[in-house]
């Protein structure tokens, strides 16, 4: 096995939540555990999708990967180095090698900056010599299939369509030739007809640049289109991990099963069978003991309440956190 680009170990994130009067009087500081004991590695050039319902911690996990927020516990190694407690030089290098694609292209770009300035800013910040800027920008614009003539680069964000803006946001992430990009719901704000173009760009970038990527989405169909591997999260914990084709074709964890079954398809002949699970996510401040999924799980039995199921290797590059698999 090659040395992974990213190694996540025992990653946990807790947030303080507002205290009730009783909490204040009893001196309690309630916390919400958004991400619980997450472990995984990402190889160079690997595309990993993280799926789960809103509130499952996928965005919090992503933010830690890109060092926007610090973990409460655990470590993230990027190319073997811990991303917490880096010195300034190391930090600058990390910021150049790991880039972020924002969800909402309509407010990811400074409305007063021309497209050229938005694309130049990261190059400038990363101390890329000025004479390289034009060619680097042309390269990034080419990758996202945007025309690079002057009038386009001189336009302002409000003059562009949503699809063009999202391509600019992608180009801005690619202009530094990163080794890793994090895309958190990169197409959820776009119309269906435009989405496909962005997804195709993500696929091309994956194939041509050998970029490692984490793609966060609630939509399993989108993840399947772009990612070779998928992680399912439930209430802060990873419940399943494996090759996307296997996760979609033969999900093992009861939650992933329900998730796969719940995705509607654009065909009339599809299953209307009732889902095996009901209800919504439980309160994350007070998660169920043992397996966090047990109160919605059709298979739950005694030990599910007492023992936390570990994320076990089940062969074929797959890991599952369930006592019954």
């Amino acid at each position: 096995m090659n040395k992974p680009l990213i190694a996540v170990e025992r990653l946990t994130k807790r947030f303080d939540v507002s205290r009730s009067m009783t909490d204040i009087l009893t001196g309690k500081r309630p916390q919400l555990q958004a991400v619980t004991d997450v472990n995984f590695t990402l190889q160079r050039g690997e595309t990993l999708g993280i799926v789960g319902e809103s509130g499952c911690g996928k965005t919090t996990l992503g933010r830690m990967l890109i060092k926007l927020i610090p973990p409460s516990e655990g470590t993230i190694l990027f190319d073997g180095k811990n991303i917490s407690g880096m010195d300034r030089t190391a930090e600058l290098a990390f910021r150049r090698r790991a880039q972020l694609v924002f969800q909402n292209p309509f407010d990811a770009l400074n409305p007063h900056f021309t497209i050229l300035r938005s694309l130049r800013e990261p190059l400038h910040n990363a101390r890329v010599p000025g004479e390289e800027h034009v060619s680097r920008i042309a390269e990034a614009m080419g990758m996202v299939h945007l025309p690079a003539p002057d009038h386009f680069l001189q336009s302002l964000p409000h003059q562009l369509s949503g699809g063009q803006l999202q391509r600019v946001v992608l180009a801005r992430a690619l202009v530094l030739r990163p080794e890793f990009i994090l895309a958190d719901e990169p197409v959820s704000m776009l119309d269906v007809s435009v989405r496909a173009g962005i997804l195709n760009v993500l696929r091309e970038v994956r194939d041509r640049m050998g970029l490692a990527a984490v793609f966060i989405s609630h939509d399993l169909a989108l993840v399947r289109y772009v990612c070779a591997r998928t992680i399912t999260m439930y209430l802060g914990a990873v419940v399943e991990d494996g090759p996307t084709a296997d996760i979609v074709g033969n999900p093992l964890h009861p939650y992933t099963k329900a998730l796969v079954q719940a995705v509607p398809i654009p065909r009339v002949d599809q299953s209307h069978a009732p889902l095996p699970i009901t209800g919504g996510l439980p309160d994350a401040r007070n998660p169920p003991s043992g397996c966090r999924f047990r109160d919605r799980c059709p298979l739950a039995e005694g030990r599910c309440a007492s023992e936390v199921p570990p994320l076990r290797d089940v062969g074929g590059g797959r890991r599952v956190a369930c006592h019954l698999v």
Partner: protein
């Protein structure tokens, strides 16, 4: 026919002139059917259905057409007469269930208020009816004493459906009712609509941008583009044999969870500016099949049982469908 919308025209007054958001839209809603209205943002789908309930911003103007509910033209009704139909005959489930419920009132009280104020019920009877309504959408009676913030997104959406059903309307209009919801919850809400349709014979007009939602729950579909209907008909027919290039393009652009890993084709370009719409077919600038005659208004072609496509080349649809399946067909169409 429960509802017949004919040649509906709605304008918005803006500082730059009148924007014709809905331009000659017609569709029918049979009793007990679920109709999906699909299209992208700005296509006029929300404006068209809001016109039915007359829940519209003050800048909106009815500029033509009729909306006939069981033979009564709603457009001609006075504000006062229209009020009599709301809740009783037509109910509206807004896009964000967050806004449909008052945060400082218990949910049950909000349902009871509609029953008492609009339905003239006694307080006690209203309480019993609220419990019935909650049971219909799969919520327990004990939940009536909760506040909206104690509900999850899906429960809130189901509560707002229960609210809409309070006075047993024949028609429920739901604007993107599942867009903000996760797939598991989305499925529960869609199943709620399907159950109500079967048990109460309620008709539903469901606005969505997601063709898979239409495929899952609707009987008929109306596809809109830039203020006009481009194709309509029974769901199975329209999805299996789309006859308008826009519908074909929408299908090709949609990632699917099952089946083979086909490459998606985006529809290049963007919809036209409705302040100055193009002559003839509005999709022609993005259409790989446009020809010279497309600068003239597209005719209505009947391509199947109740299946209409507004396209000059609708008679060639079978051939176009094959060509549309190839990704390269959609590359380099616009000059934008």
């Amino acid at each position: 026919m429960l509802l017949e919308v004919r040649d509906l025209v709605i304008d918005y007054r803006s500082t730059r002139g009148r924007v014709r958001a809905v331009d000659g839209v017609s569709f029918n809603v049979p009793a007990g059917a679920i109709i999906g209205i699909v299209g992208e943002s700005g296509c006029g789908k929300t404006t068209a259905v809001r016109a039915i309930t007359r829940v519209m911003p003050s800048s909106a103007v009815f500029s033509g057409g009729s909306i006939s509910l069981n033979g009564t033209d709603l457009v001609k009704l006075s504000e006062r007469d229209m009020q009599k139909h709301l809740w009783r005959d037509i109910a509206y489930v807004p896009q964000s269930a967050m806004n449909a419920l008052d945060p400082v009132w218990r949910v049950g009280r909000q349902v009871e208020e509609v029953l008492v104020a609009r339905g003239g019920m006694e307080k006690k009877a209203a309480r019993v009816r609220s419990e019935e309504l909650f049971a219909m959408v799969g919520l327990g009676a004990n939940r009536l004493s909760d506040y909206p913030h104690q509900f999850s997104g899906g429960m809130r959406q189901r509560a707002s459906i229960a609210l809409a059903l309070a006075l047993s309307p024949k028609l429920v209009i739901a604007d993107e009712p599942v867009t903000a919801l996760d797939v598991v919850i989305q499925r529960q809400v869609l199943d709620t609509f399907a159950t109500l349709q079967k048990q109460l014979n309620v008709s539903v007009v469901l606005v969505t941008h997601d063709i898979s939602v239409v495929a899952y729950v609707c009987d008929y579909v109306v596809v809109m583009y830039a203020g006009k209907v481009v194709e309509s008909g029974p769901v199975a027919d329209v999805l299996d044999r789309p006859a308008h290039p826009y519908t074909m393009g929408l299908y090709n652009a949609f990632p699917e969870l099952s089946g083979d890993d086909r490459e998606l084709s985006p529809i290049e370009g963007s919809p036209p500016d409705l302040l100055d719409p193009p002559q003839g077919c509005r999709f022609r600038a993005r259409c790989p099949f446009s020809i010279a005659t497309c600068t003239q208004d597209p005719p209505e072609h009947l391509v199947g049982e109740g299946h209409i496509a507004n396209c000059h080349r609708a008679t060639e649809a079978a051939d176009l469908r094959e060509t549309a399946k190839r990704t390269e067909t959609w590359v380099g169409v616009t000059t934008e």
